[in-house]
Structure formats: structure tokens, C-alpha cells
Amino acid sequence: MSIERQEIEKLATLSRIAINESTITEVSQRLSSVLGLVDQLQAVNTEGVDAMSHPMQATQRLREDEVTELNQREALQATAPETEDGLFLVPKVIE
């Protein structure tokens, strides 16, 4: 199955990855090749088969509601790209 240019652009937007105009054809070809591989799945009869999200039949463990994490802001922001007064700075958010 081949993947349209328009679709690549949509995927790139959803994934927030800038795609270079000059490589879009190449990206499209390679993605199509991978989709060709995964399309083998379509021929499999999976009627009545449960979906499997986890390899183990385990159940979620629950944590007691007690504070275990204390303020570590300085350490956690040590490699942050840009901070001010303890806030992470990003280009202006427009809602």
C-alpha cells in the first residue's frame, strides 16, 4: 500500500516532526515499504481472538497515597533549555 503525500504531511503534523520538502518523496517511499510489510496482517483471520496489550496476565498494583517525592526542582531543571523563576519557558502559548 502506498502512502500519499498529503497523508505524510498529516502524520508529520500529528507527530510534530518538520518534514523537509525535498525528502518527502523518499519518506513516502520508505513508509510505503514498511506498510507493505505490515499489510501481511490483513490476510490473517483473527475472528474471535482477543487483543493482547500485555505479555503477562498481571494486574495493576496500587500505591499508598503518601508523599514520597519532595521538591527536586533545581536538579530536575538543571539541563532544561530555558527556565525563569522555576518555570519552564516555551514560545508563547496561544490558546
Binding site: K10, T13, L14, R16, S53, H54, A58, T59, Q60, R61, L62, R63, E64, D65, E66, V67, T68, E69, N71, Q72, R73, L76, Q77, E82, E84, D85, G86, L87, F88, L89, V90, P91, K92, V93, E95
Partner: protein, 485 residues
């Protein structure tokens, strides 16, 4: 042409856990930015979530309160989108298997009627952080505070069972009342503890075809919600009557400017690519766990209302108001149990106290007048030590921090004169000083005499500087004047 309105609500309720839903960082409100955002909340590489037991219990408690099915197996999904206040780039939420299934909430309307609102489901999820647009940084930037990120929420999704703003508000208030009564949410609207998304559509009266709906997001007060609904209904009717069509969209209502605007609907906006979260396993709720929570479920508003009418002999209306707010109910009961007059305690709690708190924008838990202090005041009203007018003055004194009712009465010399000897003398003096009025009283006919009594009362109260017990004065005055007839 007349129109019917159809309203459904999605309510985000912050759970009153000590820690985040997936980390051991504190959820306390108002901390310095990012001091309560641990490595997990910041989505640092390699960190993993572990589910908070209390959050699960709180969600189940809500389910029990609305008589809902509790999901024996519930699961978490990832909802993918990029936003600076969403550190992982996905929100961990529940889609296919929410923890709380279908339930019902009964609301009471102003005309005394009741209505059932169906709950579609309620699910657990994590809150996002906050983007700040002003601070000690260049206006090119926004500042991101992730203290709130990971705070546990339940999102309660109603069926579109409401038909006007009044019903929607009643429903929202009822949910507020339930979650605060359960103690699973602090109910502090101003801190964002409850936020409402309102789905509104209109259709020609009497038809079954649902109109296109819009969603107005993130309303954080009942007042804004009411305004937003009314304006949106008007807008939709205007659009349709002008021959236009309603666009399905998300809208933001600004409570300050009272204007709602459409959030640009990006083409991809709805592709959240939900899939099961591989870092979390299915949550199994056992029958024992549910039974245990059911056994320990706090009193719910409806039950409390019934109890208040019986136990304190209150009207349905008063009991309804007092029981709707867990903190107010607690306050009332504390006051009522330390004074002799529950009815007075109810009146004061609903009346003077609530009005004063509202005007100062305070919650009852932060009331400057404690339940014990109010009880002290009520005791003095009930035993006729002070008049209703003096009581207001004493209340202001307590509010201002001048001490207990008795201390203020003493300090200001407000004690009501109830000594009959002193009052007899006072009445006699006034009658003696106003012979013309007395003659007038004697010479007029029976029907008009009652009116004239007021004139003597005014003189006597003036003479006593307001401290005479009016009931007693009334009796003495009537007796003395009758003797002259």
C-alpha cells in the same frame, strides 16, 4: 418558532488525594512553581507511573453514590496530543473500560419538582499543568508550571438530559454536593477543583432530531456556566433563525468579558490516537473492596436532607440548602448541637452568615465566625438577652474578631433589659410624660388603638437606648393602657 434546548455536561473533579494519580508528589494547592512536579510528573526519560490506591477508591465511592455499575476490570488509555502543559505528550485516561459505569443523579428544581439525570460513565484521568502568560520573562514566552500535572481527576459524563440552564446548574451543584459530602473533592471552585464542559444544542420544539452541538470548555463557576449556557442557546437560535447552520466546535467562554469564542478547529484536532497504556495493567476491583467502601460511605446529601428535616424539624427548603454543602452541613450541625435552637441556627447559617461569606468571597471552612461562636450568639437570642437588631451588631463584632457573643454584649453594654420592675417604671415614666398621646389612645376606637401602640413602643425603646426587651415592653404597655380605659 419555539426551540428546545438539550444540554449535557462533562465535569472534571479533582480528587482530594494527598499525592498525584501516578506519582508520590504532593497535590497541595498554591506551591511555588514546579516544586511539586517530580520526575514522573515532568515525564523525565525512563520514568513510569504507578496508580494511587486512594484515587481508585475515591472514584469507586463516587460510583457508589450515584448507584452506578463499578467496572470490575478497568483500564487506562493514552490520549495523544502535544501541549506544553502535557509533559508526556499524552494524557493517561480511560476510554474503553472506565471505572464507573452508568448511574443516576436526581436533581431538585426551584418549583419543587425533581428530575433524573443519567450518568453515562465516570473515568479516572490525570490533570494537566498550567501555562502562565505573564511573569518575569519576555512576552515571547509562556511559563510552564507542572505542579498540577498528574493531579487525579474523575471526569463525570452525563447524558444530554438537561433542557435549560437551571437544570444544568442544579445538576452541577448536586455533583458538587455529592463529591464534597463524600470528601473526595474539596469543592474549591476558585482553585479549579471542579471544571465544567457544557455541550449545548437546540432543536425545534417537540421534534426528536438532535441539533449540532457545541462544547464550551473549562467553566469554573456556576455563574459563568449559567451565563455561558444562556448566551450559547441564544446564539444558536439566532444562527438558525438567520438561516445559518451550527458548526460542531469547541468554544471558550470568558467570564470577565462575558464573550465566548470558537477555538480554531484544526483538521487533526480530533485524532487523539487512543491506545491501551502499556505502562499500566488492568485495574481489578474486588467485590470485597467495593463492599468495604460501601460500608464506610459518608452520608450523602439526600439522606442528610431527610435527616435534617426530621432531627432538627427544619423545612425541606432549609434542610436542602444546609445539606447540599458538606462543609455547611457540618457547620450547621456543630452550631445546632451547642445551642438550644436548631431552627435559629439554620436561619443564621443560611441567612446572615452565608450572605456575609458570599460578599467577602469566603468559604464556610474559612469563616471568621466559628460554629461555636454562632451558637453562643444564638443562645443569647433565644434566651432574650439581646434583640434581633442587637444580634446583628454582635455578629459583626464576632466577625471582626472582638471575641465571643457574651464578651461583646458585655463590652458594648448591649444587654437587653428584661427586669420587669425596671421596665414597669420605664413604661410608667413614658406614659406620664405623654399625657396627650394617652388621651388620644383612650378616645379612639378599638380598631385604631393597636396602631397607636407603636408610638409608645418607639418612645420606650428610645428611652431604654434600645435595650428594653420589646416583647416584655409590649405586654406591660398593653396592660397599663388597658387599666386606664
Amino acid at each position: 418558532m419555539s426551540w428546545d434546548t438539550v444540554i449535557g455536561l462533562e465535569i472534571h473533579v479533582q480528587l482530594a488525594t494527598k499525592t498525584k494519580i501516578f506519582s508520590g508528589a504532593s497535590t497541595a494547592y498554591g506551591a511555588e512553581p514546579n516544586t511539586q512536579a517530580c520526575a514522573i510528573d515532568l515525564a523525565m526519560p525512563g520514568t513510569l507511573p504507578v496508580l494511587n490506591k486512594q484515587a481508585v477508591n475515591y472514584a469507586i465511592m463516587f460510583g457508589l453514590a450515584i448507584d452506578a455499575e463499578i467496572g470490575q476490570v478497568s483500564a487506562f488509555e493514552r490520549k495523544n496530543y502535544f501541549y506544553p502543559d502535557l509533559p508526556k505528550g499524552y494524557q493517561t485516561t480511560q476510554l474503553e473500560k472506565p471505572i464507573v459505569g452508568r448511574g443516576n443523579v436526581e436533581i431538585q428544581l426551584a418549583d419543587g419538582s425533581t428530575k433524573n439525570v443519567r450518568i453515562h460513565h465516570a473515568h479516572l484521568e490525570e490533570d494537566a499543568g498550567k501555562s502562565l502568560h505573564e511573569g518575569n520573562f519576555s512576552s515571547k514566552f509562556s511559563g510552564i508550571d507542572l505542579n498540577r500535572a498528574g493531579t487525579p481527576l474523575i471526569e463525570i459524563v452525563s447524558e444530554p438530559d438537561m433542557n435549560n440552564a437551571e437544570e444544568a446548574i442544579a445538576f452541577a451543584k448536586k455533583i458538587h454536593s455529592i463529591v464534597t459530602s463524600l470528601g473526595i473533592c474539596d469543592g474549591e471552585m476558585s482553585q479549579g477543583s471542579m471544571r465544567f464542559d457544557v455541550n449545548v444544542s437546540v432543536k425545534p420544539s417537540g421534534t426528536d432530531i438532535l441539533g449540532t452541538r457545541t462544547e464550551t470548555k473549562n467553566l469554573n463557576s456556576f455563574k459563568f456556566m449559567e451565563e455561558a449556557i444562556k448566551r450559547e442557546v441564544e446564539r444558536q437560535i439566532d444562527v438558525i433563525e438567520d438561516g445559518g447552520a451550527i458548526v460542531q466546535e469547541t468554544r471558550l467562554y470568558n467570564g470577565e468579558t462575558k464573550v465566548a469564542r470558537s477555538m480554531r478547529s484544526k483538521e487533526e484536532a480530533n485524532d487523539y490516537r487512543y491506545f491501551p497504556c502499556p505502562d499500566l495493567l488492568p485495574v481489578i476491583v474486588s467485590d470485597e473492596q467495593v463492599a468495604e467502601l460501601r460500608r464506610n460511605l459518608p452520608e450523602l446529601p439526600d439522606a442528610r436532607q431527610a435527616r435534617f428535616t426530621q432531627q432538627y424539624n427544619l423545612s425541606d427548603y432549609d434542610a436542602g440548602i444546609l445539606s447540599s454543602d458538606a462543609a455547611m452541613a457540618k457547620y450547621f450541625e456543630a452550631a445546632a448541637s451547642t445551642c438550644s435552637d436548631a431552627k435559629l441556627a439554620a436561619n443564621w447559617t443560611i441567612g446572615e452568615l452565608s450572605a456575609r461569606l458570599n460578599s467577602e468571597d469566603l468559604s464556610i471552612t474559612n469563616s471568621p465566625v466559628s460554629a461555636q461562636q454562632l451558637a453562643g450568639l444564638i443562645t443569647r437570642i433565644a434566651d432574650n438577652s439581646i434583640s434581633g437588631k442587637m444580634a446583628k451588631e454582635v455578629f459583626e463584632g464576632i466577625w471582626a474578631g472582638e471575641g465571643s457573643a457574651d464578651e461583646i454584649i458585655e463590652a458594648r453594654g448591649l444587654k437587653q433589659v428584661s427586669d420587669s420592675g425596671a421596665l414597669e417604671q420605664m413604661v410608667a415614666d413614658v406614659l406620664a410624660a405623654n399625657q396627650t398621646m394617652v388621651d388620644d389612645y383612650i378616645n379612639t376606637d378599638e380598631a385604631k388603638r393597636k396602631k397607636k401602640l407603636g408610638g409608645f413602643m418607639g418612645q420606650i425603646m428610645k428611652a431604654s437606648k434600645g435595650q428594653a426587651n420589646p416583647q416584655q415592653v409590649n405586654q406591660i404597655l398593653a396592660k397599663k393602657l388597658n387599666e386606664l380605659l
